[in-house]
Structures are given as structure tokens and as C-alpha cells.
């Protein structure tokens, strides 16, 4: 299967972040040279003490989104450093996992 060919290994970044910080996170990714990502809206969540759910806060400012980004380790590493800074005061959770992709040339 093409999935086991070398060069197919990429990282999958999943950034769960509040919507108002999304644009800043995207700017950081773009500045770091990451070439693509997709954002999925969350509908509710829980974080230690408080529950939120979309629609209760009319300003939408506490809504969370999930940003999914498939990228090379080389591209992601510098981006992650800056995202860590960004998250310092922000609400957000970030995880990275190993995935294989079908069209490695794209990333």
C-alpha cells in the first residue's frame, strides 16, 4: 500500500481554540510556511469547571473551533513554538499525532 512508502509520514496538528483567536493562529501558521488547514466548528465543550455551548453566548466569543492541519514536521515545528506563545493567555488545547498521507507531495 502506498501508505507505507517513505515520505508519507506527516504530522497532524489539532488545535482546539476559541474562535476569536483563530485568525491569529492562522496567521502564525501561514508565517511559518504551513500550506493548508481546515477548521471545524465545535458545538459545545467542558473545561474543568465550565460548560459552554454554541448559541448561548450571543457574541460567539466563547465558541471553540477545531483546526486540523496536516504538515511536515519541518514546517510544523516553528509554527508550534509560536502557537505555544499564543496559547499562553488564551483558551486552547493542542495535540499532535503521526499520520500517513496519500499524496505526500502536496504538503
Amino acid at each position: 500500500m502506498p501508505l507505507t512508502a517513505s515520505g508519507n509520514d506527516k504530522l497532524r496538528l489539532e488545535l482546539i481554540i476559541e474562535r476569536p483567536a483563530l485568525r491569529r493562529a492562522e496567521d502564525l501558521l501561514r508565517e511559518a510556511g504551513v500550506t493548508g488547514w481546515t477548521v471545524v466548528p465545535a458545538m459545545s465543550g467542558f473545561g474543568g469547571q465550565t460548560r459552554w455551548s454554541r448559541g448561548t453566548d450571543l457574541s460567539g466569543s466563547t465558541d471553540m473551533v477545531v483546526l486540523i492541519c496536516i504538515a511536515d514536521e519541518d514546517a510544523l515545528e516553528p509554527a508550534l513554538k509560536r502557537i505555544l506563545e499564543l496559547l499562553d493567555k488564551r483558551i486552547g488545547v493542542v495535540n499532535v499525532s503521526d499520520v500517513r498521507v496519500l499524496r505526500p507531495g502536496l504538503f
Binding site: 448559541g55 448561548t56 453566548d57 457574541s59 466569543s61
Partner: protein, 326 residues
């Protein structure tokens, strides 16, 4: 009796229905997309009507005096709110500043409910107060940022500056400013004639749509309150109840100085007394991310909004008829 009439108006009763349903943890909801669409409708409607009314009367010195008063109130009220919060509540500097910003700005739905209450009480008001509402949205945010960042580490201030462009767009071009000002200008241009064709959509169903929207506001306020009240102490909750009275009093004082008729006085009081729960929280998440949204959202939407809808507005109407009609 005006106060009871207002309390028993369908608009207020639908708000109460939503509030009670949410406090009882009803699973019902009005879809967010639908409620947001209705909000755009409501703002278009009052903007257009305000513009048409403005097209009929001259802009005199009094109008500009009210513009100035509105801007001054929006800049100034957060200072009072900040002092009150820092003195009485245990809120951090950032949280106090962010919360204070909400009380300088305005709630357009409270404003719309007040227009409705004035109509029930048969008290006329002027169209240009819609413009005042739009003008009062933003200045409070500047005061809040100054309060929060004054003397803070270079870091936080730098952040705020870096996002300046985005923040400015968020704050100056948000939906309510764009739609209110835009519809006002369109109403001004269209005048009485153009408005006549639009009236079947914008005048007749206004009250009904407001009822539907208020049901949703009640649900939101109730849910916000249920989730957030535990985090708030007694002092912040008390603040959410007395701060509108302080705001309304100062607004009334300025209105008396300017010599406004009772209807306009009520609206200026309501703008001063109401707190933002759309524009300002969005700006605060952007510029002061370390502030705690559950404090200011719960206070402005869960405490101050219901207070103004149920008790504040009849009170301000009573006070204004006393002060102006004396």
C-alpha cells in the same frame, strides 16, 4: 399604570417565558442562525425608521449635544464602573476593566424594547437616537483597554497593538454599527416615500418578531445565569443591579441639561443603563484574552439585561415623565 403595562407587555412576557424555561433546564432552543437573522432584521427596522424620522426634522444644536453626551457617557461610564468593581468586588484589574467596558457600551435589544415600551405608553421619541446608540457602542472599549493595559507589562500592550487592525474592524464594523448606521442613511435617503413600500415588512411585524427574539434572549440569559452565577460573588451581582441605575441617573442628568423631551430622555437613560453582550465581549476576547468571559457575559446578559427589561425600563419611563414632564 405604565409600569404594570410594560411588565405585562407580550414582549416582556415572552422574555420571562424564555428565562423561566432556561432556569428549569428546558431543552428547547431557538436556532442561533434564526435568532441572529432576526437581530439583523430588528436593527434594519429601527435604523430605517430612525432615518425616515430624521429626514423630516432639521439637525439642530440639541441633536449634536446629544451625540456629544452619548460619546461622553460611553467613554466615561467605564471609569465609574471600574472604580466600583475594584472597590467592592475581588475582580482582578483585567476582569474589572473588561467588565467596565461592557457598561459604557450599549445593548441594542434593550434599546428596542424601550422603544416598544414608549409606544405602549404613547410617549413620542426622536429618530436620531438610533445614531446615538451606534455612536455609544465603541468608545467604552477604548476606556476599558486603557484601564487594563495602563502600567502593564510591555507584553500585553504589544499584543493589543499587534492585533490593532483586526480589533478596529471588529469594533467599528461589527454588525450592529454597520446595519444601524447603514439603515439610518438608507432611511434618510429614501424618506417617507421610499419607506412606505418597505413598511409592510418593517413596521407591521416588528412587535411580533421582537417577541420571538425576546423568547430567545430569555433562554440565553437564563442559561448564562445558570452556568455562570456560581463564579460570581455577591458584589459583582449587586454591581449588575446598581450600575444601570447609576448609568441611568447620569444619562438623565445630561438629558435634563440638554433639555430633552421625556421620550428621548428615556432612551438616553436606557443607553446609559444597558450593557453590551455582543460587541464588547468579542472585542475583549481579542484584546484582553486573559480576562474571564464568564464574569462579564453573566453580568451583562444574565443580570443587567433582565433587570432593565423587567424593572429598569418602566422605572426610567416613570422618572423621565417626572423630570421632564414636571
Amino acid at each position: 399604570m405604565t409600569a404594570l403595562d410594560t411588565l405585562l407587555s407580550p414582549v416582556v412576557m415572552f422574555f420571562a417565558l424564555g428565562l423561566v424555561a432556561a432556569l428549569l433546564r428546558s431543552p428547547m432552543d431557538v436556532p442561533q442562525a434564526f435568532a441572529k437573522g432576526l437581530a439583523v432584521y430588528l436593527m434594519m427596522a429601527i435604523g430605517l425608521k430612525g432615518g425616515v424620522e430624521m429626514s423630516k426634522t432639521a439637525m439642530d444644536a440639541q441633536v449634536f449635544a446629544v451625540f456629544g453626551a452619548g460619546i461622553g457617557l460611553s467613554f466615561g461610564l467605564p471609569l465609574i464602573a471600574y472604580a466600583a468593581l475594584r472597590l467592592t468586588s475581588g475582580l482582578s484589574k483585567t476582569d474589572a476593566a473588561a467588565t467596565a467596558g461592557h457598561y459604557g457600551s450599549i445593548s441594542i435589544v434593550t434599546f428596542v424594547a424601550a422603544i416598544d415600551a414608549l409606544r405602549i405608553a404613547d410617549i413620542p421619541s426622536s429618530g436620531y437616537l438610533v445614531a446615538v446608540a451606534a455612536l455609544m457602542e465603541t468608545p467604552a472599549i477604548i476606556t476599558a483597554l486603557w484601564l487594563a493595559l495602563r502600567g502593564s507589562k510591555k507584553d500585553a500592550a504589544e499584543d493589543a497593538v499587534r492585533d490593532r487592525g483586526e480589533l478596529a474592524r471588529e469594533v467599528l464594523l461589527n454588525a450592529s454599527i454597520v446595519v444601524l448606521i447603514g439603515a439610518l442613511l438608507i432611511g434618510l435617503t429614501a424618506g417617507e416615500d421610499g419607506y412606505e413600500r418597505l413598511a409592510p415588512f418593517f413596521t407591521a411585524p416588528f412587535q411580533g418578531i421582537l417577541c420571538l427574539f425576546m423568547l430567545d434572549m430569555g433562554l440565553n440569559a437564563g442559561r448564562g445565569l445558570r452556568r455562570g452565577w456560581r463564579k460570581l460573588g455577591v458584589a459583582p451581582i449587586a454591581f449588575g443591579l446598581y450600575m444601570p441605575l447609576i448609568g441611568a441617573s447620569i444619562g438623565a442628568g445630561l438629558a435634563v441639561l440638554i433639555g430633552l423631551p421625556p421620550g428621548d430622555m428615556v432612551l438616553l437613560m436606557v443607553l446609559s443603563a444597558s450593557a453590551s453582550y455582543i460587541a464588547v465581549p468579542a472585542a475583549m476576547r481579542l484584546a484582553l484574552p486573559e480576562s474571564d468571559p464568564s464574569v462579564y457575559l453573566t453580568l451583562s446578559l444574565g443580570v443587567t439585561f433582565p433587570f432593565n427589561i423587567a424593572l429598569g425600563i418602566p422605572l426610567y419611563i416613570g422618572a423621565a415623565t417626572l423630570l421632564a414632564g414636571g
